[in-house]
Amino acid sequence: MTEPIVQYKKVHKAFDDVKVLKGIDLDIYPSEKVAIIGPSGSGKTTIIRMLMTLEEPTSGDIIVDGTNLWKMEKKGELVRANEKHLRSVRGDIGMVFQHFNLFPHMTILENCMTAPIHVKGEDKKEVEERSIEMLGRVGLGDKMNNYPSQLSGGQKQRVAMARALVMRPKIMLFDEVTSALDPELVGEVLEVIRDIAKNDDMAMVLVTHEMDFALDIADKVLFLDEGVIEEQGSAQEVINDSQNKRLREFLSRFRN
């Protein structure tokens, strides 16, 4: 039995007085594809933002590949992680954002090349080849020297995925990556994710509103409601078979 690559243990998160997550327990296995669904405000995004070290849990532990992400050992005691510790643990995690967050002052190719060169210290030539290959894979080989402002939303999001993939993460996080797109551009982005899911063996966590898509690619679906994981199981079990009343209500809003 393989060990989980990520474990959430009784993770809570509050913003001031608002309790967003109330005790999340979750295992993610290597190469597992996990979809998180649920009403807006249920804390879906917060779950993956904590893993990317963009939000700090209020309590509980997140273990990445056997190492506690937000806590480190110092003189035999567990203390709050510093930046160095966070960097050493999050190196295998990549993320794609709802609003793309491409670097506007760099070309598409530079967007992909910056981190491998500066962060991982890899050879420029090799990184360039890999970036070009990756941009070809997301169908943007001809836009390499353009700036992000010259691309459509769907193209930007595909660049964002290439940028994350060039770092060769073991875990990829997708934060509602189609929510900011015009409806006719959603398909091209989902197509790329589907391709990644089928051909790469990294673990993927998708926060999504695309139910059919989740059903199609996810090994495991979580239904999050009011900060609690209400249901989890295979896509079939959760989306088609579950009798959970809140879940049925939620799903009925997507199926007309």
């Binding site: 990317m52 967050n101 670097f103 002052h105 770092m167």
Partner: protein
């Protein structure tokens, strides 16, 4: 005398001081702006408060009084000589405009979209890399128009050094007027024209800067 060219010719010797003071104090103020602007964003409370004090004191008091302080008051109070009047002019103007510009630096850095910093984190950059590769290049684009603007103001501010007996353009204008009182209007028009001609490249640059700024900023 043939008015315009004659007057112009008599003012030209002042150009050296006006331009050298402008260049030196501009460079010094940019340096101060980045140091103070970054310090105000630092996590260190002492650094933040201390630079905050500098900025408010120099923004909140008059430049001409600061000049007089550096020339006449500080040497008596502390027994230190700050060097020639030229370097005092540069220090005073540089510190004064550095205070204003540090606010431009600070607010531009804060104005870079938070998503940019998050993307940098997701690519596992260090805080320093995040600043150097992602935040700063974008912030500088936003700073450019304001920097050009303040540099034009600085040029005009240099005229104050004529009051601490530096021989700049205005100083020569004043000398000329005192011996040709009836020419006063003409003399000061020529002085204005000279300042305008000096400002012209800066004005053109600030227009260009605005275009550059519009180009590379987050959507």
């Amino acid at each position: 005398m043939n008015p315009i060219t004659d007057i112009g010719g008599q003012l030209i010797p002042g150009l050296g001081i006006t331009i050298s003071i402008l260049l030196a104090s501009a460079l010094f103020s940019y340096l101060m702006a980045f140091i103070a602007g970054l310090c105000r964003l630092s996590k260190n409370v002492f650094l933040r408060k201390f630079t905050g004090l500098y900025v408010e004191v120099f923004r909140g008091t008059s430049l001409i009084v600061q000049l007089f302080w550096f020339v006449y008051a500080i040497p008596i109070l502390f027994g230190v000589n700050l060097g020639s009047n030229w370097s005092i002019g540069v220090i005073a103007i540089g510190l004064n405009y550095g205070a204003y510009l540090s606010e431009v630096v600070r607010s531009s850095i804060l104005a870079v979209a938070p998503g940019q910093s998050e993307a940098a984190t997701a690519l596992n950059m260090t805080s320093f890399q995040k600043m150097r590769l992602v935040i700063f290049p974008q912030a500088v684009r936003m700073m450019l128009p304001e920097f050009a603007n303040y540099t034009i103001q600085m040029l005009k501010g240099t005229a104050l050094v004529s009051l601490i007996s530096l021989n700049d353009v205005l100083y020569y204008g004043n000398i000329l007027r005192s011996s040709n009182l009836s020419y006063a209007p003409l003399i000061y028009i020529v002085v204005l024209i000279i300042y305008f001609l000096l400002a012209l490249p800066l004005i053109l640059f600030s227009r260009k800067a605005e275009k550059i700024a519009k180009k590379g900023v987050a959507n």
